[in-house]
Symmetry: C2
Subunit: 332 residues, 2 copies
């Protein structure tokens, strides 16, 4: 989950002088911002500061980030010719700034494993079709239902682009990669199995040939945890609405599980943070494939950084009290 | 689920002359708009045209509906004194317009069972705290975590208000009532069991004394279907992300199930609508407590009314082809 961001004053200081897209595309800045939460909290791993939408720019999408709105795409996909016009992406020449930031980080922090990432095809397609964020996914679903063949063509292009981008991140030094399917939970099980999972599986298969672990985060996908656990991914990352003890039964130890504290818990008083951390660690005991402690989503901008430090201390302290049965336990 | 709305030209004609809040609070208009989809499609039951937020106005909330934004509350809850200041609601004198609309409908359409409804306390509280719609529920969760006692006091007030409102709707002629917990799926299982389910159960217990069936719709609540099925409700309404065959195993025939076609399927071509309807009916065969065919959420404004008619025809035609094992099968 995103570690850096507006909840940190050192991030706000960098951001004051640069817009979001400049920050992402300037390796010195992206590396610096990636290092900020590592310096401050000493997390066991870092995630590169980037955005799932960056590959859409070289594909030909007119992307900007508006304050208080989020991503806006000026030329959303409307027709077959829009899909045909999408350009192939060369991860080195088109997205070299991500790779440079990864290389810089790995040189600067050789002892901190770095996670690269990308968006899953369905989630990326939803932004390309809606032209930005949405709550109802009406344009996306209309596109899937009315133009299933065109939708598959788009998802296929995205699967290829994403897998090449992830492999390049691994070659640049990423120690693991995570695929974010942030909106897959909006689909029925059948549509998830039709329009989301196959493309994620294709990416996992291509990327795993590198030998580097692959984490899949399919937010809100309750009904396909079993299918996800046989997708070839090493780790399944789950949000806070999916109880870990029910995940244990469904995934049967085939994958490690990452998660799943509600990031809003960091807005609570310390005693509540400790209680909820203890609950997650306790539920995680039923996971036979191992557990990586993490939030169920990114840190909210109104979070007090002292609470993040308190959480890290809780995980380290309470995690040590447990039976040493889960070697992959790690903090955030 | 809401049947009336902008997808119907006869609704748009009424709406052109009245703002949304006036429409809700004028019984002649609310009754007329409730009858429109019944006249057009001949659904087996109607749902009164109203809004879950109407009880907040006599409680003291400054509610308005803005075009393209939705509900906006000018005085969101911030403190204990804000909660203390909330007024008790007399459903007859404060919300008599809902009851009048129900009485008018029952007189005009004596053969069409009418469903009354209200919002569940957690969902109503989220609007009161956020001041409108939200995607992240950060203010709501901060309130729950930082002020749990105050949150319980608010939820308790809402449970009482909602139960009195539902009982009054039944006395006015509603043949069943539905409780909408539209945002409960945003909570972890523990928080759902703490801050949402107990208040819904309290309402169900009070309302069921009338002898009228109670339907509970807890959108996106995957992890508590078993708890919901023992809540005392007669019917559990599920959205399209919850597969009916998995519901069958969890609820074990204790309740009837309502749902769960994705309303976005109505944007598809007829053959896709038919395929998905067949799928829902086929999955529903595993439900031992009976099944009420319905959408998993309200109809989207961009829906072609001819597709709704086609869906009704599909359900009636395909439903008849099935073994007569489910006496509660009904169309929408």
């Amino acid at each position: 989950m995103r570690q850096a961001g507006r909840y940190l004053e050192e991030y706000r200081a960098v951001r004051a002088a640069h817009d979001f897209l400049s920050l992402l595309s300037t390796p010195d800045l992206a590396c610096e911002v990636t290092r900020q939460p590592i310096r401050r909290f000493g997390f066991d791993a870092a995630i590169i500061f980037s955005d799932i939408l960056v590959p859409l720019v070289p594909m030909g999408m007119d992307l900007r980030f508006e304050e208080a709105v989020g991503p806006v795409i000026g030329n959303p996909l409307r027709s077959a010719s829009d899909v045909d016009r999408l350009r192939g992406v060369d991860p080195v020449s088109d997205l070299g700034f991500v790779l440079d930031a990864i290389q810089q980080f790995v040189r600067a922090e050789p002892d901190v494993p770095l996670i690269g990432f990308a968006g899953a095809p369905f989630t990326l397609a939803s932004y390309m079709i809606e032209g930005g964020s949405t709550r109802e996914f009406i344009a996306t679903k209309r596109f899937l239902y009315q133009e299933p063949r065109l939708a598959r063509k788009l998802l296929q292009k995205l699967a290829w682009t994403v897998s090449q981008h992830l492999i390049a991140q691994i070659e640049a030094g990423a120690a693991a990669v995570q695929i974010f399917d942030s909106w897959a939970g909006q689909l029925s099980k059948e549509d998830y199995l039709r329009y989301a999972l196959p493309y994620t599986v294709e990416i996992v298969e291509l990327v795993r040939k590198t030998g580097v672990p692959v984490i899949v985060f399919a937010k809100g996908v309750h009904s396909c945890l079993s299918e996800l656990s046989t997708s070839g991914a090493d780790v399944l990352s789950v949000d806070w609405t999916i109880p870990l003890d029910s995940v244990a039964g469904t995934t049967e130890g085939r994958v490690a599980i990452q998660g799943n504290l509600d990031p809003a818990v960091l807005l609570a008083r310390p005693e509540t943070i400790e209680r909820e951390t203890q609950r997650v660690l306790s539920e995680a005991r039923s996971l036979r494939g191992g557990h990586i402690f993490n939030l169920g989503h990114g840190i909210h901008r109104s979070t007090n950084p002292d609470h993040v430090q308190f959480l890290v201390d809780c995980v380290r302290r309470l995690g040590r009290q447990r039976a040493p049965a889960h070697p992959t336990d790690a903090a955030l």
